[in-house]
Amino acid sequence: MNFAVVQFPGSNCDQDVVHVLRNVLGHSARLRWHKDSTLGAVDAVFIPGGFSYGDYLRTGAIARFSPVMAAVQQFAANGGLVLGICNGFQILCEAGLLPGALIRNRSLQFRCEHVYLKTETARSPFTNRVPSGKLLRIPIAHGEGCYFADEETRAKLQASDQVLWRYVNASGEPTAIANPNGSVDNIAGVCNEARNVAGLMPHPERASEAILGGTDGLLIFESMLSALQEKAASRARLEPAPAL
């Protein structure tokens, strides 16, 4: 598979995502600079973490208008898979590709620690490989990860099964103590209604090798790969190779 990883001035998890895609999973991954107005022939796009444009004005507010984001919008509108991680999640919310917004952590602290995530639904290209009942232990590192959406939006998220991950304790309960930033309903990640765009605050790319303390993050990358392989296989069935 071919992946694009978008790079803004201030991105700092871009190389980590490229490393996991190339060296851990063995796929092709290319960086796309914020001034690029095309993505090239790619199967999925990652918007990585960091502090794009210094987080000036609001997190993601400036990045959302960079030339590459117009290409990402188009790619998403055509059904392409897009995953935003941390600052990438903030950018996708600012761009209106995902509902809600991310605001300052309730504690006002920058939180850098491991959290437990409960995957709320396997029915998405980002979660289909997560075994039922399996909690993901993945690190967070953010100061503005408090997810906010108004009541009407939350009801819609719930009704259409768009909450992908929630912060939980080691027993899988979404308690206040397990919530590192004050997110409404302990929400750690959501997808759009069409289910091809998702974002989450935790960093799966930092939990994809045993030497880094855990590989639970790989399940998210593997879910995307599985969805892409499924899509490629069904396309091949519809358009059989011409007989030689």
Binding site: L57, R58, A61, I62, F65, C93, E94, G100, A101, I103, R104, N105, R106, S107, L108, C146, F148, A149, D150, G182
Partner: protein
Amino acid sequence: MKAKIIITPKKAVLDPQGKTVQNALAHLGYTDVGAVHVGKYIEVEWTGSDRETARRQIDDACHRILSNPVIEDYRFELE
């Protein structure tokens, strides 16, 4: 012309900065302090001369980029 823009968190949105400042003020003995809200102040110098155009375009800019309507309200004056 100059636009003076004030951006504040929406009422329904958690404002931990406001709450922390409120607590600090109470701690300093300002007993009559009620809720505190922390927002942003932006000044935009405007080179055009038509006030109506300025008003319309600044309103548009506030909506599109200077504020996030999901979490913030804005107001501005031209002078």
